[in-house]
Amino acid sequence: MTEPLVKAKGIARYFDVSPPLLNRLIEGSKRQVVKAVDGVDFEIERGQTLSLVGESGCGKSTIARLVVGLYEPTGGSIEFEGVDLTALDNRKEEAKLRGRMQMIFQDPYASLNPRWRVQDIVAEPIRHKKMFDTRAEVTSRVGELLSQVGLSPADGEKYPHEFSGGQRQRISIARALASNPEFLVCDEPTSALDVSVQAQILNLMKDLQRKFGLTYLFISHDLAVVDHVSDRIGVMYLGRICELADTRELFSNPRHPYSRFLLDAIPDLDMTGKQRIPVAGEVPSPINPPSGCTFHPRCPFANDRCKSEQPELRDVDGTQVACHGVEENRLEPTG
């Protein structure tokens, strides 16, 4: 087996969200820490796509930001081609490695500079990397990128506010692709797009992967999209990965009780009248996570061990699952 392109080892990121010191003194309120990501391991092979799925607030975007270096990790390490990015003290070396990755942000509004024309926004990474010598080459590359995402080269003259939500998201995709990155972190890249433009973008991403061997870390709440694009999927719950499996395997044989819930909640397009089963119970808070397995308050298989001991990811037939019930072989098989 070749060395994975990206390797995250025990990464964690905590946020201090305590009330200001004065309130803590007067009201006696306590320090509050959100453990947004709390000990996550994964590897992504070159040319492959790993997707992260899980409830809103479970830490997906935080992982994305950690991987591209927008957040400092509280703990753990992130390796790119075997180089630990978190330990690099050579600025130049780090900039060079980081230049080979790009990120598409969940919020396309916040990530586009409102005072720049679209052509300058898209050209920025190209200029930064000094990929072309002449202005004409840059312009033609920008035009090509805009066409690839279903906009027109002439749209380059406009400002971001002149575009609809989905059009802005496509501008941020064009910018991310501009510098021919090898590794792309995509946080909900198609969530603002109608399905026909989404199909166009997903096809483009797959074509680039086939042609240039791009590697993706992909985040989406749409399980059908995830099913379509991923080789492997990590299911997250409250800052941790609870199941890491090959795509086929996860969809045909989900092992973790939370994965099973998630798949049961897929919307019903055939309108058979089947009611979606929302995951029962309260969404727990990352400020006061439940003891033991953090899923235990919502899990029909929870027992005393689950309430006290946190399960670790363990190998089960090539899939990694963090669940005592699976380990003890006492869950009902999936139907």
């Binding site: 919020d107 506010h161 399905v195 433009v197 727990p284």
Partner: protein
Amino acid sequence: MSTSKQQPLLEVRNLRVEFPTRRGSLIAVDGVSMEIAPGEVLGVVGESGAGKSMTGNAVIGLLPSPGRVESGEILLEGERIDNLPYEQMRKIRGKRIGAIFQDPLTSLNPLYTVGEQLVETIQTHLDLSEKGAKDRAVDLLEEVGIPSARERIDHYPHQFSGGMRQRVVIALALCAEPRLIIADEPTTALDVSIQAQIITLIKKLCREHGTAVMLVTHDMGVIAETADRVAVMYAGRIAEIGPVAEVVKNANHPYTHGLMGSIPKVGHEVERLTQIDGSMPRLTEIPTGCAFNPRCTEKGPRCMVERPILEPVENSFVACWKFDPEGTGA
């Protein structure tokens, strides 16, 4: 619901929204008419850039400049609201119309905590004490699925995840119990289980308070479960409007047909997704005749010259010459 003869809660008649630009006028919404009955959810779907958000923004009276309502009428419970002075419209917004914007950040002020913003909105529209308003705010946050709402209410928007911010915006829109909700992509950043929770909440409001909802989304799963009727938009126009089951399962219009075919489905292994070839025309360069004609595989000579009008097909209305007795011929 759509067959009852009661007065529609919202009526949009022949709405046209334009953006004057350096290179001529851009027509973002072109002759759109729709009605929503009390308790009804009208889904609005269509190509990115088709004018869904601008239709919603026109109803709320918040078109981004230089956009303006060029012609048409908008009526809320029988009263015209498209020509009201700013102050009067501002009172209607929030109280009688709740808006959930596509971009959660436009509705949230980064300098105030989530709680401060909710309490202020609640106190503007409802007669409640500070304490009462805060309790209501906490209840609302819990209803939209924010864990530890009592603690998190004192946090700032940037301390929330994308989907949590979106839910705060939903709570803000619902807090004054409006008659009409304009929800623009309310569930895009939400996972399926929270989505189900929000949909249940919206449906409950419709059932119990007769709230009418215009639900703009590209998520067909959400449409299938929530909407009573659906309008499909393309290049500023309505291509098809009808009962949800008919539009989703037996799309009539060739564009709707392509749209439904592009949806990825769990467990269907395909190398490439079906896409509709080409892209939507720029709104300053809409072709004559049918706006979909450059991409349509069923077009005829008539489609190139004459603009199709909405005509009844089964229980829907469809703008396509294919369904006209004279067909797509010259």
